[in-house]
Amino acid sequence: MSERIYLSGNEAIAYGLIASGVRFLTGYPGTPSSEILPTAQKLKLRYKFKGFIDWAVNEKVALEMAFSASLCKIKSAVTMKQVGLNVAMDAFVNSAYIGPKAGFVVVVADDPGPYSSQTEQDSRIAAYFAKVPVFDPSSVEEAYHFAKKALELSEEFEIPVLLRTTTALSHGKADISIDNLKIEDQFQPNFKEELKNWEKEVSKLAATPKQRYLLHKALNEKLKAISERNKIRYFYEGDILILSSGMVFSYLRELIEEYNLQQKVTLGKVDIPYPLKKENFSKFKRIITVEETAPVIELFLNTEGRRNGIVPSEGELSPEVCENILAKIGLISEKKTVIIPPLKRPSLCPGCGHRIGLFAVKKVFGKKAIYTGDIGCYTLALNFGVTDTVFCMGAGVSFATGMKKVFDLSGKERMVIGIVGDSTFLHSGIPPLIDAYHYRVPILLIILDNETVGMTGNQKTPAHTKSYEGEPLNSVKIENIVKGIGIEFVKVVDSYEYKKTLAVLKGAKSYLLENKKSAVVILKHPCIYTKEGLEKNPKKPVKIVEEKCTGCKYCIVEFECPALIWDKDKEKVLIDKTLCINCGCCIYVCPKKAIIEVKDGACNTW
């Protein structure tokens, strides 16, 4: 029995993993991968099967936990975004040599474009590098089926399998047919018996270099066997062969039908871009690969594509780009490029605690200080000048440490302030803070603690005391970690308490200058994007006193609350009531005291 449901690619992957028996699923949130794990949690709540489905502190830990779970014969999987796989790479490459003992799938979401990532890297290359087979689904339906197939392949060959998705697929939706989830029988873990007899296997699980050579050899044999049965699927019957995988395949298929190229083109679909086997292409006039975002199939099968400039080497291969590629091949006439007007740049939510906190930091340390930022909502503080570098997770701390060390060496006094969110700090900000302390580097580290992973959809952090199932959890206290490292100046303050925050920051500044040691200030305020956060948020409705507003735009430029908008006619600032959450933070911002609290709740609006 099957039913049709309307799912996103990420949801479909979760359904596929759970349907095929995954009972240990972990990961670290990152757009566009973040919805997979919460969907599996919903299924667990609905069907009440046994297992572990929850976030890990970072991708490396996630991959190691999931892989070790598979060694204990429970089907497992791990989810992350493409740059997260870089963090987990050491563990990932090793997992191929050792091989899981039950199905083990690594789900990685790439971000061609990029829409919300530092790089456009292609995880299929990472799969090749690690010698791990990779599935590249072309539709939501395939995402569901390939999740299942990936697990089956992993079980059969005792090899990790990568399931690669992209933003367009992860966030795409379709009504798909899925097997009825019969949880009672199908969903009970069957590992209990096997676990009873779990035996050590030191020669594999703690392999010496000599044994690793043998493991490598065994891995190569598995890959060869998989490549033998990895067949390209052909559509249409022209003498130009276009090879593709992933979502790009679907765009090409649509275009071929739109332009009636069925007699001119054969479209070859590669479900598993690695490991591939050479096929006989002698009947084709030309062979061109169109794939996102790096040449993988192109290199293995030695085809045209990026090497001769037919396929662009950067950016998403959107339907429009694919159309251009067909024109370049000479199949259709050149298309006019559509000029897309830019949309308003993103900014922090109205009322976000990060904004007022970082505004205070800028007030105390000035524009000359170097602000090394990090990955999270607060990256957007670059809009109002409180973030000068954004690199990768945790680099806000290590950049501050490295740069400050250089200024110290040069004898030039320059304040360097690291800015990192709570989950990013726990993810990879702790090791660099150890070095900062150890080498006596006088940086100030601002830890923005909003008690959630805000940017990716408010996932749980290790500070939480309850799991999604209501189970008690130990709450990790960031200030204890910082103190545990040995840092003496550690202060915690709610960023909404503006005056107190200013005092704390001024204290930190004198401490840095006098003691030449690292200091940490934790600015706490819950994310107001969650329903709970918004309900609990203090209310202080504000209004603009029109006569006092000089139209200097200071509040718009230096504070950038989206609810403060410019009235072109009056040349003054207005409050957009539909966006304003009445946090009252802007009261502290206007130098002319034109923004004031209102007791009667009325405010002048858009």
């Binding site: 996103s8 939706k173 379709a174 159309e323």
Partner: protein
């Protein structure tokens, strides 16, 4: 049919796309869509591209949308890159919606207006997937248009 729905966070873009998808599925059509939410959460641009009964991918090529539903008028230039035919609610319609039904049913009321003016789906299919209160609001919006006897292509201001 290829549709694009554009608006800002909180304006009901996702509600609109969900209802339209459900109606289409109810009619036995396949639905493929993509949701693009900007990094800004409140007030950020939300974009849904939807293919009903056609295609292999959820993405719509610029210039080929049959209809662009605009919930935020300042996105018109951006919306037009998807297709020439634009649907927007007039100021009176939005005001009417806020006056006629409680806040949480405003979107359903507007959906009623949309269905009446475009006729792209059978109103009865829409009624089937809604609860009682939503049905009432939908019918009110639908009836409002019939009383005005409007055609959106002529009435755009």
């Amino acid at each position: 049919m290829e549709l694009v729905i554009l608006g800002k966070g909180g304006q009901g873009v996702l509600f609109f796309s969900k209802i339209l998808a459900q109606i289409a599925i109810e009619e036995g059509e396949s639905v493929k869509a993509t949701e693009i939410k900007g990094m800004a959460k409140k007030g950020g641009v939300v974009e849904v591209q939807m293919k009903i009964g056609e295609g292999y991918s959820p993405k719509i090529k610029r210039g080929s949308a049959d209809l662009v539903i605009l919930l935020s008028p300042d996105l018109e230039a951006y919306g037009k890159t998807f297709g020439e035919k634009i649907f927007t609610f007039s100021k009176e319609e939005i005001e009417k919606a806020f006056k006629e039904v409680p806040l949480r049913y405003v979107n359903t009321y507007l959906m009623g207006i949309f269905l009446a003016k475009t006729g792209i789906f059978d109103i009865n299919k829409a009624l089937k997937i809604l609860d009682e209160e939503n049905q009432k609001s939908l019918l009110k919006g639908y009836a409002y248009v019939q009383s005005q006897n409007g055609d959106f292509t002529k009435r755009r201001d």
